[in-house]
């Protein structure tokens, strides 16, 4: 299968990519790892007239300790995040999510920036960046802006990014010594995308949960934080019975529109959300 014809441009810098985006507007698409875009182009679901390669930009692939946060270049591969000792130590949610994306070949090519910009409702990183409280850096003609993860995912395959903007960096806060995190998913048996994925961070102070952040992917048209679970656990000790009670609140918000497809009905997805909330929080409890 061949994509429809297009003109190919190699960007050597972020500025060059932005000026190409400005020049070609909605006829252009960025390509990073290509592991979401190329399959769509082969099926002609995407037919950009201009493809702007940003894998050729030096300096979009890094993981750096900035003190209270870790800066991850948008072009960093899933494999590099999976294997990063710095992240494993200071924000383990991201390597845990990266490690269960697709398969080794996909993780070698796919990038965190591409995954977030693509905003697949079943992708793994969105839940992880929401639970982590990440900030996303976008650069456009008018300069740079920092978008909190919570404002980034707008709709199915839609983000807050303008079509002339590039995501350049993901900033994840460093966790403190009394915080633990986990990401677990129920993978689709063939595609390995998440039917339901749950990312959570819990901070314990004097043996009660002082901070709880729980986010889901795969359940609705975008990843979301679940305040039902969070509120039920905050202020409580962390044990099987408090976790069970909190997990029962998962995916119960009235505003939530739960997805339904061939693989999982609405009821089954809601059920899985509760099961995975419990498993994820139990794993966190056992890590303290």
């Amino acid at each position: 299968m061949y994509p429809a014809p297009f003109e190919y441009h190699r960007a050597r810098s972020v500025d060059e990519a932005i000026s190409l985006l400005s020049q070609y507007g909605s006829d252009a698409k960025l390509i990073a790892g290509g592991h979401s875009l190329l399959p769509m182009m082969k099926l002609r679901l995407a037919t950009p007239a201009h493809l702007i390669d940003i894998r050729t930009i030096d300096g979009l692939q890094y993981i750096e300790d900035k003190g209270d946060y870790i800066a991850i270049g948008a072009g960093t591969s899933h494999a590099a995040i999976e294997k990063s000792d710095l992240l494993k130590q200071k924000m383990p949610l991201l390597p845990q999510a990266a490690a269960v994306i697709g398969d080794p070949q996909v993780r070698n090519m796919g990038t965190i920036g591409g995954s977030l910009a693509h905003a697949d409702p079943a992708a793994d990183y969105p839940a992880a960046v929401l639970a982590a409280g990440a900030q996303l850096v976008a650069v456009g003609e008018d300069g740079e802006r920092v978008i909190p993860a919570e404002e980034f995912f707008v709709e199915l395959f839609q983000t807050d990014l303008d079509e002339r903007e590039i995501l350049t960096e993901i900033r994840v806060p460093v966790i403190s010594g009394n915080t633990r995190g986990a990401y677990l998913k129920f993978p689709h048996p063939a595609s390995r995308f998440a039917i339901v994925g749950c990312a959570a961070l819990v901070t314990l102070e004097n043996n009660v949960c002082s901070d709880v952040r729980v986010a889901f992917t795969g359940v609705a048209s975008t990843a979301f934080r679940d305040s039902g679970v969070e509120d039920a656990l905050r202020g409580q000790p962390l044990n099987e019975s408090t976790i069970q009670k909190a997990a029962e609140q998962a995916a119960e918000s009235d505003e939530l529109e739960i997805m339904e497809d061939n693989f999982a009905s609405e009821d089954y997805r809601r059920h899985l959300a509760k099961v995975y909330a419990k498993r994820t929080l139990m794993q966190i409890a056992s890590a303290f």
Binding site: F6, D53, P104, Q105, N108
Partner: protein
């Protein structure tokens, strides 16, 4: 418009002009005649098209040839040296790691990256590392044994 690319394939420098939409796997098979790399699903799932790009296993049906500009590629044809099979190839032979053989080149290239990173993998680690490769003959058991054979031989 055709684009010039220059890359290394199995140790040899290759320069060509290619249409941007040419997939890397078709570049290898149809332009260079290296038909060891197979096309199975053509949808990034089966791993039959796996090659090494700068030392990393990638699915060449989901890459454009232009994206490989400047890269070093190794295909299954690049493994045997002086007429001697690479230990991974030998393992597939000795342990009956193939039936129809269609998935074999991709399996071998994925196993190659695994053994580079982890010379002594457990059975579970081998199965995990080959998650991106399907065998329609379902000969997974002997594929694992083939990789174990290769690990042993490489460590000797």
């Amino acid at each position: 418009m055709e684009i010039p690319i220059k890359l290394t394939v199995n140790g040899e420098v290759v320069e060509r002009r290619v249409e941007p939409r040419l997939l890397l796997v078709n570049f290898l098979r149809d332009v260079l005649g290296l038909t060891g790399t197979h096309v199975g699903c053509d949808t990034s799932s089966c791993g039959a098209c796996t090659i090494l790009m700068d030392g990393k296993a990638v699915k060449s049906c989901t890459l454009l040839a232009v994206q490989a500009d400047g890269a070093e590629l190794v295909t299954v044809e690049g493994l045997a040296k002086n007429g001697e099979l690479h230990p991974i190839q030998e393992g597939f032979w000795q342990e009956h790691g193939l039936q129809c053989g269609f998935c074999t080149p991709g399996m071998i290239m994925a196993a190659y990256q695994l053994l580079e990173e982890n010379p002594n993998p457990s059975e579970e680690e081998i199965r995990h590392a080959l998650e991106g490769n399907y065998c329609r003959c379902t000969g997974y058991h002997n594929i694992v044994k083939s990789v174990q054979y290769a690990a042993k031989k490489l460590n000797r």
